[in-house]
Amino acid sequence: MKRRWAMVIDMDLCTGCGACVAACVAENNTPTVGESEAGKGRLMQWIRVVRYFRKEEHDETRAIYVATPCMHCEKAPCEIVCPVYATYHDEDDHVNAMVYNRCIGTRYCGNNCPYSVRVFNWWDYKREKPLDEQLNPDLTVRSRGVMEKCSYCIQRIRRGKETALKEDRPIRDGEVLPACAQTCPPGAIRFGDLDDPESAVSRMMKDPRRFRLMEHLGTEPSTVYLKKMRGPGR
């Protein structure tokens, strides 16, 4: 069963709280790196909530939050440059896949991602015992020297598929959610199958506020955004 998973991030609802970041870290076994490593720009979180400042009318400075997971581009720049196919397009789910045991760490994909969502395992990140008891058994704990990035929680997609398979039914819309979308308090992150015209994301795709990051690059991201609105008046 082929699917076209997509994520819609409503910037009008995103409050910037960072629950998605923590949920992702908990779900995907991403390590914490500590202050000095963070200072070098080596945070390992797969989704980041970027706070931009903008000067707006009345000389007001406003903050705007851009939650940035992997865009899962349909024409992903990272895929073509990997010499060993460690990252490639998963045709079953239309997501941009990353296979850790094939990766040799050229970091070319990281360079070629205009959204800079790929992170590299600079070290073997040790989890102090017994913090490692929390590690999610559904996916690999990555070792030194490989790239990693948001997978749209492929292990949760798989769990959803397996549950549906066992119950002999198709996957329902909203049944499969990545950890970030599951936890987002205001519900700013939506996830679903674009091939299903009735799904919530398919409907949201028709929203006139829809845009994609760096659209002029032609990467055709599967993660799309809905513009932040501003109420009328003062």
């Binding site: 998963d90 079953d92 896949a97 850790y100 045991n101 094939r102 397996e162």
Partner: protein
Amino acid sequence: MTRNAIASLLALVALALALAVLFPTHSAAAPPEQPIRYSHKVHVTDYKLDCRFCHVYAAKSASAGIPSLAKCMMCHRTIAAERPEIRKLAQYWKEKKPIPWVRVTELQEYTYFPHFRMVSYGKVPCLTCHPGIDRDDIAVQRQEFGMGWCLTCHRGRGVSIDCWTCHI
């Protein structure tokens, strides 16, 4: 030695190396020292027990699972209770201690192998991946699970050979 001899020797070595890379050997390792000399042959070949009678999770879960002590005792309370190996079993049961079986079948690391998909949906016979285990007195692994071996089967059955099917 003539030049030709050297050349043909080199060619042979190269061929052997290439073959070794292409077709890894399938030799079975020596049977491990198990806490109880459990025989698959007796249970499967002689008494015609279904694999899933003991490995209950194979049909519904990723791991096939090793039967619990209670499962063994279901039959062995009465059947062959006086044999020395069964006495050992009974001793474990008496002490309520789990049996520390030695792992026989090793799957490659970083691989997801959902038994239930193969067993319940793929209808792959158990012996495809565990050849000869039904005739083993002490189980050994006869099939190394190289990726090429998996792929050949996947290709033949027309199921997904996407990397993420098995590696996430």
